[in-house]
């Protein structure tokens, strides 16, 4: 793998033999520029991902606070803490925040940090696009909360069913802010999906063939493909909604030949895959955490990968189970019942493989593993209620009741948030260089686990007793009082546990135990570099010889990883240390393919994002914003892509001719 040595002598090259001069040059090359302007121009994937993670977590806390207000209102019958106007905004904001501003983007944010490290490279593909996607996401989220602060928060539900969300029954601009928030966040998600797919396909370290990609990366890649197919559906639907509201089209107006059920099909064609967009990264976290704390490679790698892909395919074939109560043909519904139940099979395959891995390993009970075990209890229970909801007759009884509220929180919190918290504990030392406190971690876990079950288990029973969803109050004497009170207490216990998590993270940031490169003895590449990683991630690009590169002792001329022979090449050398040069590899076998020159930090993604924001927000008020707003966008994008002489000269000097 050593690069042929006919490059110009004067240029510094990276590689395993590189000294401090090369290391310093690499740090300088990949570091974000200093100062406020430099901060705004940053394109390093770790800087963007850190901001992204903190932003999504802030939205998680905001959405949680909204939920606490709702739980206070529902703790007693006929309460008057909030009225229906505010309550409808609260539950709409809660759902929209958790789905669009937290659950999907936080997974992409963690992926943007980890994927290049796990693949052994120095950047994500399209680093400027990555920065642009972050700014777009941030502005979209801020717009929604600004609207809420000015009493213009959306109030037609996170699903915005027409005609309630249409011009006749939701006058004013509330629903427009919701629809435009969709445009912002889905644009960001689509761009991130492109970034992740391209990174995984082209930037893997040499030797990381398709069947050696870490399972978390597989999960994120499958998720990214799902984003590409699911998000356009909701963007289309919300754009048609905005047009109905702003320029008088009639896509959803039955009086003029439109159809209100069209909205439901388009929305749930996105909305059900959305659940798996949130769930699959959670599965990826588990497949990363379990082998480390079981001290063995995962059991059933191929089965796990195929299960992820099968889940992704099936996820697009069951959207109608959200619409069983609408007026649809019975035979068609049976098909969707079967599809909805069959998606349990790939999930079962994964769960059994994890149990097999745990059972045949040597266990180290640390906080990340606790959250994994919490996942098993909660997610499996949520899966069981999911099977009930897949059945048409059962669904018609419990659809749109608190049973569904219980189910969806069991699936999403159990399937995504518990693994995510486990992942925070697991990778926090890599992000910051320090371990989080185990003692606070255990308190965090047990309070979350108990509070969660207290908050959401009673909701199953409330659903059976006839309590519908999305009600701002309920009357006394219906038998719902006690269970609602327990749910509210549980919600506050969850809040306490999240508070402990924040305290733990902030304290550990300053006073945590120094982690070192690989505190858990894990096997994937992100643990091969310093904690926190240097700006360039790796001073020499590693060469991969197995699924857990840090666990295998590479030797050539032998059939097993632990048998004799000469040590294999372990690193690539020869990439420029003083320019953003990266090695691209082939899609299937990750053979070295070509050297790429990566773009420098620049302010233009931010400026472009501001221009796009002006267009998006302006078009809530006048269709002409689309016309005039496109001019600043064109200017910003032109400046973004304008070729610069020093860059061109650098690229020419690095170009190698035969």
């Amino acid at each position: 793998m050593n690069a042929p040595d006919h490059a110009p002598r004067s240029r510094l090259k990276d590689g395993p033999g590189g000294g401090s001069r090369e290391a310093a040059a690499l740090d300088d090359t990949w570091r974000d520029p200093p100062g406020l302007l430099g901060w705004l121009a940053a394109v390093n994937h770790k800087s963007i991902a850190r901001r992204f993670i903190v932003t999504t977590f802030a939205f998680f806390v905001a959405g949680g606070i909204l939920a606490l207000i709702m739980r206070l209102q529902l703790a007693r019958p006929n309460a008057h803490i909030v009225g229906p106007d505010l309550y409808n905004q609260l539950f709409t904001m809660h759902g929209s925040t958790m789905m669009f501003l937290f659950a999907v983007p936080v997974m992409q944010a963690v992926a943007v940090y980890l994927v290049p490290l796990m693949l052994g490279t120095r950047s994500v593909a399209f680093p400027r696009l990555n920065a642009f996607a972050y700014w777009i996401f941030l502005f979209g989220g801020l717009m929604l909360y600004a609207a809420f602060a000015f009493n213009a928060g959306p109030d037609a539900g996170w699903f915005s069913y027409v005609p309630l969300a249409g011009p006749d029954y939701s006058p004013g601009k509330r629903v427009d802010f919701w629809a435009q928030m969709i445009t912002f966040t889905e644009l960001s998600a689509l761009l991130e999906a492109i970034v992740i797919i391209t990174t995984v396909f082209k930037l893997r370290a040499p030797g990381m063939t398709l069947n050696r990609i870490p399972l978390f990366v597989w999960a994120m890649m499958v998720t990214a493909f799902m984003v590409l197919f699911a998000m356009p559906s909701v963007m289309l639907a919300s754009t048609m909604l905005i047009m109905d509201r702003l320029v008088g089209t009639h896509f959803y107006n039955p009086a003029e030949g439109g159809d209100v059920v069209l909205w439901q099909h388009l929305f749930w064609f996105f909305g059900h895959p959305e659940v798996y967009l949130i769930f699959l990264p959670g599965l990826g976290f588990l497949s990363a955490i379990i082998p480390t704390f079981a001290k063995r490679p995962i059991y059933g790698y191929t089965a796990l990968v195929l299960a992820l892909i099968a889940t992704a395919f099936l996820a697009f074939g069951l959207w109608v189970h959200h619409m069983f109560a609408a007026n649809l043909p019975e035979l068609g519904k049976s098909f969707f019942t079967a599809a909805s139940m069959l998606i349990a099979i790939p999930s079962a395959v994964q769960i059994f493989c994890w149990i097999a891995t745990l059972g045949s390993g040597r266990l180290d009970f640390r906080t990340p593993l606790l959250f994994v075990l919490g996942f098993f209890f909660i997610l499996v229970l949520g899966g069981m209620t999911g099977i009930m909801l897949a059945s048409v007759p059962l669904d018609l009884q419990v659809h749109d009741t608190y049973f569904v509220v219980a189910h969806l929180h069991y699936v999403l919190i159990g399937g995504a948030v518990f693994p995510l918290f486990g992942a925070f504990y697991y990778w926090f030392p890599k992000f910051t260089g320090r371990l989080m406190s185990e003692r606070l971690g255990r308190w965090n876990f047990w309070l979350f686990f108990i509070g969660f079950n207290a908050a959401f288990f009673p909701m199953h029973l409330l659903g059976f007793q006839g309590m519908p969803r999305r009600v701002y109050t309920y009357q006394a004497g219906l038998g719902w009082d006690g269970m609602n009170l327990i749910a509210t207490i549980g919600a506050f216990v969850i809040a306490l546990s999240v508070l402990l998590f924040i305290v733990n993270a902030l304290r550990s940031l300053r006073r945590g135990v120094e982690a070192g490169d690989n505190p858990w003895g894990a096997g994937t590449l992100e643990w091969a570099t310093a904690s926190p990683p240097p700006p360039c991630n790796f001073y020499a690009i590693p060469v991969v010889h197995g699924r857990e590169p840090l666990w295998v002792q590479p030797r050539v001329k032998s059939d097993g990883p632990e048998e004799g022979g000469q040590p294999a090449f372990t690193h690539v050398s020869g990439l420029a240390a003083d320019a953003r040069e990266l090695l691209a590899t082939t899609v299937l076998d990750a053979r070295p393919d070509l050297r790429l020159n990566f773009p420098d930090p620049t302010i233009w993604p931010l400026v472009s994002a501001i221009a796009v924001t002006v267009l998006f927000i302006g078009s809530i008020f006048t269709p002409w914003a689309v016309v005039w707003g496109s001019i600043p966008i064109a200017i910003a994008l032109t400046a973004w892509f304008w070729p610069r002489r020093p860059e061109t000269l650098l690229h020419l000097s690095l170009e190698r001719r035969p």
């Binding site: 229906p84 001290k295 063995r296 229970l381 059962l394 059976f464 003895g521």
Partner: protein, 323 residues
């Protein structure tokens, strides 16, 4: 008004079928849940502890030789899950068929139109002259199937009486039908199940199942106006009703009030509740409702009425006479 509203307290064949399917599904799911957790517990209990030493070497033996025992267990578990799922799919489809096959011979026909936030109920009889309209309270004879035509006037609502049958949406621009039967007399509570705006929470209705004779008496009474024999105070109340804003939205048969914007009040005093289940039907609550509906159901389309206390007493007296 005490009323049943519980999926597990079925009083009709539809809800009964669903309950049977529910019991089967619950048993299967509980067994699977218990089995998965037991497998996890056994795995955790049997696996040795590694201690917290990060440097202890991982066990890589799985990379070199296959693990036939583990493989057998995983495959067996997946096959068992698949078979159980197939059982549940078949059971679900059969229940669906049974629900669709409820005999509708000699059925009573109703047309329910949902409004923000109340229910309009029209009884459709073979003779057009026998049709009548009521609101928020549906009387049905026991043992006789009921076919309901569902329509929505504004946004999507959903019709749900847990003790009798599953729910069905009422969708603007689309008409759907729905059938059920109540086998025992009693009062069953229903509620809108699809989010429909401000007062989605207070949009209840009641199904009153009576023995056929009692139902026939009730229906006969509904076909006649109730505003014939009024005393002087009630007559004054009627004139208050007709000259104030009430008559712009409500209809009372036998008077000149024939508007269809709000609930038909021809027999309002015979109903158990007011404002779609929001209040008990008492003179005090009726006064509170007329004086300031926004306080009881914020966002409701009914405006407040500023009436003198004499006028209010007369009006409430008149409405209470409409039995």
């Amino acid at each position: 008004m005490h009323a049943l509203h519980d999926v597990f307290a079925p009083y009709g064949p539809q809800a009964g079928e669903v309950r049977a399917l529910w019991l089967l599904t619950l048993v299967v799911c509980l067994i699977v849940f218990a089995a998965v957790l037991a497998a996890l517990a056994i795995a955790l209990w049997r696996a040795p502890r590694s201690g917290s030493d990060a440097r202890s070497a991982p066990d890589l033996s799985g990379l070199r030789r296959p693990e036939p025992g583990t493989r057998r267990s995983v495959v067996a578990a997946v096959v068992a899950s698949t078979l159980l799922l197939l059982v549940l799919i078949v059971a679900s489809v059969f229940t669906d068929r049974a629900l669709a096959r409820l005999s509708t011979e000699g059925a009573l026909r109703l047309e329910v139109t949902a409004h923000q936030w109340w229910w309009e109920v029209r009884y459709v009889e073979p003779q057009v002259a026998d049709n009548f309209i009521t609101a928020n309270e549906i009387h049905v004879p026991t043992g006789r199937p009921v076919i309901v035509t569902l329509k929505a006037d504004d946004v999507i609502h959903s019709f749900w009486v847990p003790s009798l049958a599953g729910k069905k949406d009422l969708i603007p621009g689309r008409t759907s039908t729905f059938h059920f039967r109540a086998d025992h007399d009693g009062v069953y509570r229903g509620q809108c199940a699809e989010f429909c705006g401000f007062q989605h929470a207070l949009m209840a209705f009641f199904v009153v199942a009576d023995p056929p004779e009692r139902y026939a008496d009730w229906a006969a009474a509904q076909r006649h106006s109730a505003s014939d024999a009024l005393d002087e105070q009630q007559l004054r109340g009627r004139s208050v009703f007709l000259r104030s804003s009430c008559a712009m939205c409500h209809a009372i048969d036998g008077t000149s009030a024939q508007a269809v914007r709000g609930p038909n009040l021809t027999h309002v005093a015979s109903r158990g509740t007011l404002a779609a289940g929001a209040l008990a039907n008492t003179p005090e609550d009726l006064k509170r409702w007329i004086a300031d509906p926004q306080k009881i159901k914020p966002g409701t389309n009914m405006p407040a009425s500023a009436l003198s206390s004499e006028d209010m007493d007369a009006l409430v007296g008149f409405l209470q006479a409409l039995r």
